[in-house]
């Protein structure tokens, strides 16, 4: 499993952070944008009509959102309706593995959002967050 793109999407489905994790992956960034944008439809579907029984705990991990020919999009939604999305290459990823990755990603976001100088729901420009995401998510986790 190789992560190729990490993205944070705000409450109003506006992009807060978008980063291609491929080396030299800027060429494909528009495609990733389209794919993540499209996966928001799936997020909406999953959030509005969750397929879980009444006893189940609310889970942040949304699972596979949108499979394309080459990539798969996985999603995670926080309590504040911040969506974390990851695009992986076409290899099948295990859900447990993805959960771990998303937890790290979420932690990094929480750290960045706790910065008193950060205004909620605005684009994340923190270099530290960027380096954390790059360092923790790029190598195989």
């Amino acid at each position: 499993m190789v992560l190729v793109c990490a993205s944070v999407v705000g409450r109003a489905n506006n992009p807060l952070y978008f980063r291609s994790l491929l080396p030299g992956g800027d060429a494909e960034i528009l495609k990733f944008q389209y794919i993540v944008h499209c996966a928001l439809d799936a997020v909406e579907e999953k959030v509005t009509s969750p397929q879980r029984r009444s006893g189940d705990a609310v889970e942040s991990y949304l699972g596979l959102l949108y499979p394309t020919e080459d990539y798969r999009v996985y999603g995670y939604i926080s309590n504040t309706r911040i969506k974390l999305m990851l695009i992986v290459d076409d290899h099948v990823a295990r859900d447990d593995e993805m959960r771990q990755v998303f937890k790290k990603f979420h932690q990094a976001y929480v750290d960045a959002a706790s910065n008193p100088f950060y205004t909620a729901n605005t684009p994340l420009t923190s270099k530290r967050f960027d380096s954390t995401v790059t360092a923790k998510l790029t190598p195989r986790t």
Binding site: R11, A12, N13, P15, H37
Partner: protein, 1301 residues
């Protein structure tokens, strides 16, 4: 077969099988606007009820339809452009409804030079459609010769009546009849085909049987089965099955789904039996279609005629028509076309709701599943994709976004399957259709992704750039409405719509990607207008995301595209690049121009109409409500038709380039007048009168200009409601209409949860524009220009020159050179007009009114108010001073009422001015120094009243005297604020009461008493012959005439008068102090002389000693004349109120007070009050204008000097006098020395020796008949003492007693 490029048709639905394809072919040259009109006439009849068709239907043979729904059914047409209809239809052998079964030619006769050749051309076109059953050539606007000519060789020609002869309604009615006839003939042909259909006509080797583009290569098992079913019997059955399928299709097209279902059932059975899988699938699909249509008819889901009629031509934005006929047609349809998109019966909320209720969904599901299964076995992928798309559209219509998941899965499989399609066009069509269906269920983002993939695919597969551009444009458009059918006629109408940003803007990168792809493909396709639109959209909405270099290149692209575009295209109908405009508000008109609701009483019923009750319990509340309503009205901007209004906007340039706007003009739309019917408004709009006149400006915007306020102007020319739609901007070689954009969100709005506020895009799309952008325009009103005309000393010039020069004239009307017109400054109303007055002065002003508008003034009223507090514009130093109280103004309203109506001054003729006299009494106050007073002259006027007010017109005031006859009118209120500087002048310094003999002794040059007395009496006596008749008579009339007693009294009085010493007279001594603080030097190099005038009523006997002590002025510029005279007040409206009618009571009080002991404080006070009441001193300003008639002295500026009751009382108390106030009084003036005459005034002057060293002249002369005056001329800066005694004079008994002096 080799030319087949596409198998999959766009826009297929579950109802497509019931639509007859009709090619609409313009023959020869048809101008676009006429073509649009004719197409509109035809496409209106996309659905024709069979009930209407029946009257045109001729049953020539027995109908093949057993269950034909004559009452409830309908036929459906799908009108195709020539291009779409002539495209090869490879599946026409499989589906009858893919064939083009009818042709309609459109011939615009004025454009066709040779009619016969045009008809031959039409017949040639028809030959390209061999399957066509019905052919019609619609000839519009035929010439008379054509109408009368015999046309045996033109059987299919249908002439339409000319619009000029019968009007548009007749044209529409004609089109309806023709279309019903067309449907009836088509029905007859279909029936004929049904009757003659036989299995022999069916081909077994169609495109669907053999083409490798339709079927995947067959497997060995299929080959085996093909041979197995290939015997004669099977072939016969197969033919029969296919024939049944075709008959089912035809029955469905004819509008009889029940018959169709029967045929489809047979076909499905037979085809399944013969292993004809493609036809089995098609028959099952047809069965599903017939079930759906059957339930449509059964449930009444198809729209009834009325709502169908309301639906009209596609409501896509059309360019403004140049032809009035088309404008009229569009205007007629404009109100009805709102809310409906297509004229098809297969759309709309009620349709889908009825279908949802009919439980047809289960059957359709099953049938489609069977059909898919059959076709999958055969591997006919295009058919599979089509069926999936049809089914998905059906689900989307039925359930909307609730079916998102199911439709999404279906579309995923469609896209996957579509990838295996052999034809490129089909692959592309699959992607686009899947995208459109995803848009129907609300997956706008997936739609964008699919369309983006389609663009990329189109680019990769090297399709023509224009086709790619169409896809790219589609990606930007908003998704279709699931409840409405697709806009299938867009191709037919060929309207160019601007690039519309349909993608939500919160994901800028995706949106930019879409727009960039449009831009790039448009550049490649050389579609300059699309290039311009896309570049403008990028700059307008994504400026912040673009690099400066990119912005610059986009601006260059814009300029280049504008250069390449045609002249018509340079007038863009849509929005363009920055500058962005934010609407702030419609500014209300300045106060004098603002229309107001006025309560003008009819002229004869002036004065408040009061009820029988003094106190009204509801009065307060009513007043509050009125005040609140007034406040609301002040907030609301109301403009006047034909006059300039202002709108405040904010303009911003977000780009990093500087922009030059050649022309920025406000655009407004006349929405309508609530008092006029919509149809009349539409007709009014056609009369060619423009409804808006704009006032363009040019701007230069530096880079990154933040929102900056700009005031734009425009004149609404009609009455009604206007909406400010935006601005027309000309820049970079193109002109476009920029709509208002929303102000940037504040931080608080940004931080709000997204669910609580509607997204910005929703607000901006609100129909009718922003609520604040509406302004009410009232009918034209007259415009009066009030100018204050005052004698020169009253105006203080040069202190505030701008207030004099600025006029309140609106632009567009001739400017006046009003020197004293109130200025209409933008904030805070007009500046007060600075005036100056002396304390106690009586000012004679006039207001000059001229009508600068175009409507006569029929009612006008002038009101006056004294503003208690200083306006905000007053400076701090002025605020600290006390405000003078007691300023009184009288207006000659009757003169104004008599002058009505004031006709407007035309441009050529000199303006007529009406003069309204004003009389202002400035108060005489004790305090020293200058004081300020603020006055407001309010002029209310209105034009001709509406007819409604005729019952309350002043014609019948007596008929309903108890009811108030006031009505509220729309008029104007003009305010002339006056800032009055009150400068000190004469002042009563002290009062002393002397015994009469003391007063007499104070004049040394008296030699003998008798002549002296006569000399004293002379001026008055000359006058007294007439004056007492006027003045004293009421008093005498009050008392019953008692001639004997009266005579006795008079005799006693005369005796007393002639006596050398008079003991029992009261003497009042006044000290007049002239506070010489008049402005000197600059403004008034020659200050006129001051004339003091003293008026003493005839019913009083007193001796007045007046000391006019003139203090030292800055410049000794002239003489001062103190003049005393009897007052002659003929016009109560123009005179001092103190002397009106109060003489009886006052005289009585004085008498009572006088008879009592003056030691009593109450008696003294009463006596003092009476003296003050009765005694007033007037003075004049200016050269003594005493030569004219006596009445003329009211028009000179006169001042009034009042005695302070406290001062008089103080003078009374220490001197225990017994006041004797007999009923008859006379005045005696102590004219001491006969004057030698004055050079200016030929009347003899009498020198008066005053206290001090001054030499004063006392002019005693008679002027006119009723007034006697004498004056005293003295130098400024010197104290003057004047004594006068008022003594007995029995003039009434001896009218000519003193004449012989």
């Amino acid at each position: 077969m080799t030319s087949v490029q596409r198998i999959i048709e766009p826009g297929l639905t579950a109802f497509s099988a019931a639509e007859i394809h009709v090619a609409v072919v313009p023959i020869g040259l048809v101008p676009q606007e006429f073509l649009d009109q004719y197409l509109g006439l035809i496409t209106k009849h996309r659905q024709v009820d069979l009930g209407n068709v029946r009257s045109f239907y001729k049953e020539s043979q027995k109908s093949p339809f057993k269950f034909f729904p004559w009452k409830t059914g309908s036929m459906h047409f799908r009108f195709l452009s020539e291009e779409a209809a002539s495209r090869p239809q490879p599946l026409a052998g499989l589906h009858v409804h893919r064939k083009t079964l009818a042709i309609i030619g459109i011939l615009h006769c004025p454009a066709a030079t040779e009619f016969k050749r045009a008809y031959v051309r039409f017949e040639q076109v028809c030959r390209a459609y061999p399957d066509a059953f019905a052919i019609r050539c619609f000839a519009f606007e035929p010439s008379d010769m054509l109408v009368t000519a015999n046309k045996p060789d033109m059987p299919n020609l249908v002439l339409f009546p000319p619009v000029r002869a019968g009007g548009l309604q007749q044209l529409e009615g004609h089109a309806e009849v023709v279309m019903h006839d067309f449907a009836a003939s088509l029905l007859g042909e279909l029936e004929k085909w049904m009757l003659t259909a036989s299995p022999a006509m069916v081909s077994l080797n169609t495109f669907a049987d053999s083409s490798d583009k339709f079927l995947v290569p067959s497997t060995i098992a299929e080959e085996v089965s093909k041979r197995l079913y290939n015997d004669e019997e099977m072939i016969r059955k197969r033919r029969y099955g296919r024939c049944q399928k075709a008959m089912g299709d035809t029955a469905l097209l004819a509008g009889s789904p029940a018959d169709a279902a029967e045929h489809y059932n047979t076909a499905a059975e037979l085809c399944r039996l013969t292993n004809d899988l493609v036809w089995t699938s098609a028959a099952l699909e047809g069965l599903a279609h017939s079930k759906v249509l059957e339930s449509c008819i059964a449930s009444g889901a198809l729209r009834d005629r009325t709502s169908f009629d309301a639906a009209t031509t596609p409501s896509s934005p059309s360019p403004s028509p140049r032809n009035p006929r088309i404008a009229l047609l569009q205007a007629e349809h404009a109100p009805a076309s709102v809310g409906s998109h297509t004229s098809s019966g297969f759309a709309g909320r009620p349709f889908w709701h009825a279908l949802r209720q009919s439980n047809v969904e289960h059957d359709v599901r099953t049938l489609f599943a069977d059909a898919r299964q059959a076709v999958r076995r055969k591997g006919a992928i295009p058919l599979l994709v089509e069926q999936d798309l049809k089914f998905a559209r059906f689900l989307a219509g039925l359930h909307g976004s609730k079916a998102r998941k199911e439709v999404g899965d279906l579309m995923n499989s469609v896209v996957e399957t579509g990838a295996a399609l052999p034809l490129t066009e089909d692959k592309l069509m699959t992607l686009m259709e899947a995208a459109q269906v995803m848009g129907l269920v609300g997956s706008a983002r997936k739609r964008v992704l699919l369309l983006w993939q389609a663009i990329e695919f189109s680019r990769v597969s090297e399709r023509p750039n224009i086709s790619t551009l169409q896809i790219a444009r589609k990606a930007l458009e908003p998704p279709d409405d699931p409840l409405e059918g697709g806009d299938e006629e867009a191709e037919l109408f060929r309207r160019k719509t601007p690039v519309a940003p349909g993608v939500p803007r919160h994901w800028a990168a995706v949106r930019c990607g879409c727009i960039e792809s449009v831009l790039n493909t448009a550049i490649l396709a050389a579609q300059h207008s699309d290039v311009w639109d896309a570049a403008a959209l990028l700059l307008r909405e994504h400026c912040s995301e673009l690099l400066p270099s990119r912005q610059e290149s986009l601006l260059n692209t814009l300029a280049a595209a504008a250069h390449q575009m045609g002249i018509d295209d340079r007038q863009r109908s849509g929005p363009g690049p920055p500058p962005l405009l934010i609407f702030c508000r419609c500014l209300p008109l300045p106060e004098p121009l603002r229309p107001q609701e006025l309560q003008i009483l009819p002229t004869n019923a002036r004065g408040p109409q009061e009820g029988p009750f003094i106190y009204s319990a509801f009065g307060d509340r009513q007043q509050q409500q009125q005040a609140a309503a007034e406040g609301m009205r002040q907030q609301e901007a109301r403009w006047v038709a034909g006059e300039m209004g202002s709108v405040e906007i904010e303009i911003s340039n977000p780009t990093t380039m500087q922009m030059k706007v050649d022309r920025l003009a406000l655009e407004a739309e006349h929405v309508g007048d609530p008092s006029i019917a919509p149809r009349d408004q539409a007709l009014g709009a056609l009369q060619g009168t423009p409804s808006w006149r704009t006032h363009p400006v040019a701007l230069f915007l530096p880079p990154e200009t933040p929102p900056t306020k700009v005031v734009l102007k425009g004149a609404a020319l009609r009455k009604g409601l206007y909406v400010m739609t935006g601005c027309s901007i000309t820049s970079l070689g193109a002109t476009w209409r920029q709509k208002w954009s929303l102000p940037a969100a504040t931080l608080g709005q940004k931080l709000q949860p997204s669910g609580s506020v509607p997204p910005l895009s929703v607000q901006i799309m609100e129909s009718g524009g922003l609520a604040e952008a509406r302004v009410t325009v009232v009918q034209s009103l007259p415009l009066l220009e009030p100018r204050l005309h005052a004698p020169p000393p009253s105006l203080v010039p040069a202190t505030q020159p701008e207030s004099d020069s600025v006029s309140n004239t609106p632009e567009g009307t001739p400017k006046s050179s009003a020197a004293a017109a109130p200025s209409a400054s933008k904030s805070g109303g007009p500046k007060p007009l600075p005036m100056a007055a002396l304390k106690g002065q009586v000012l004679h002003w006039a207001m000059l009114l001229s009508n600068a508008g175009s409507i006569p003034v029929t009612s006008a009223d002038v009101q006056l108010s004294v503003v208690a507090s200083a306006p905000a514009s007053a400076s701090g130093s002025q605020l600290r001073r006390p405000l003078a109280q007691g300023v009184q103004v009288t207006v000659g309203s009757q003169l104004l009422a008599r002058a009505l109506p004031l006709l407007p001054s035309h441009s050529g003729a000199p303006s007529r001015k009406t003069q309204v006299p004003l009389l202002l009494y400035s108060p005489q106050v004790v305090s020293q120094g200058e004081e300020m007073a603020w006055l407001e002259l309010r002029l209310e006027y209105s034009g001709p009243r509406p007819a409604l007010s005729s019952p309350s017109s002043p014609a019948s005031p007596d008929s309903a005297p108890s009811t108030p006859t006031s009505t509220s009118y729309l008029g104007r209120r003009s305010t002339v604020p006056i800032q009055l500087r009150l400068m000190p002048s004469l002042q009563v310094k002290g009062v002393a009461l002397l015994e009469h003999h003391e007063a007499i002794q104070a004049f040394p040059p008296r030699q003998e008493q008798q002549p002296d007395t006569q000399e004293q009496l002379r001026p008055y006596l000359q006058n007294g012959q007439h004056q007492p008749q006027q003045r004293a008579e009421p008093l005498w009339n009050d008392r019953p005439p008692d001639s004997s007693g009266e005579d006795a009294v008079m005799a006693a009085a005369q005796e007393a008068m002639s006596a050398p010493t008079i003991r029992h007279c009261c003497v009042v001594e006044d000290a007049l102090v002239y506070g010489a603080r008049l402005p000197s030097g600059k403004g008034h190099p020659t200050r006129p002389q001051h004339l003091c005038r003293k008026t003493i009523p005839a019913q009083q006997q007193a001796t007045v000693a007046a000391f006019a002590a003139a203090l030292r002025p800055p410049q000794d510029t002239g003489d001062k004349v103190v003049q005393q005279s009897l007052s002659q007040e003929s016009d109560p409206g123009l005179s001092c109120r103190r002397h009106q009618g109060g003489n009886v009571a006052a005289g009585q009080a004085a008498r009572d007070g006088g008879m009592q002991s003056s030691r009593q404080p109450s008696g003294a006070a009463t006596a003092a009050a009476t003296i003050c009441q009765q005694l007033a001193l007037f003075w004049c300003l200016g050269t003594p204008p005493l030569q004219g008639a006596a009445t003329a002295d009211l028009e000179v500026e006169a001042g009034m000097l009042l005695l302070e009751p406290a001062a008089v009382q103080a003078a009374l108390l220490p001197r225990p006098l017994s006041l004797l106030l007999p009923p008859a009084l006379s005045i005696a003036f102590h004219a001491v020395v006969p004057s030698p005459g004055h050079p200016d005034n030929q009347a003899p002057y009498v020198l008066l020796q005053g206290a001090g060293e001054s030499k004063a002249e006392l002019a005693g002369r008679s002027s006119g008949q009723s007034t006697a005056r004498w004056g005293m001329r003295c130098r400024l800066g010197e104290a003057v003492e004047v004594q006068c005694s008022v003594g007995w004079h029995p003039h009434r008994c001896h009218p000519a007693a003193g004449c012989h002096g």
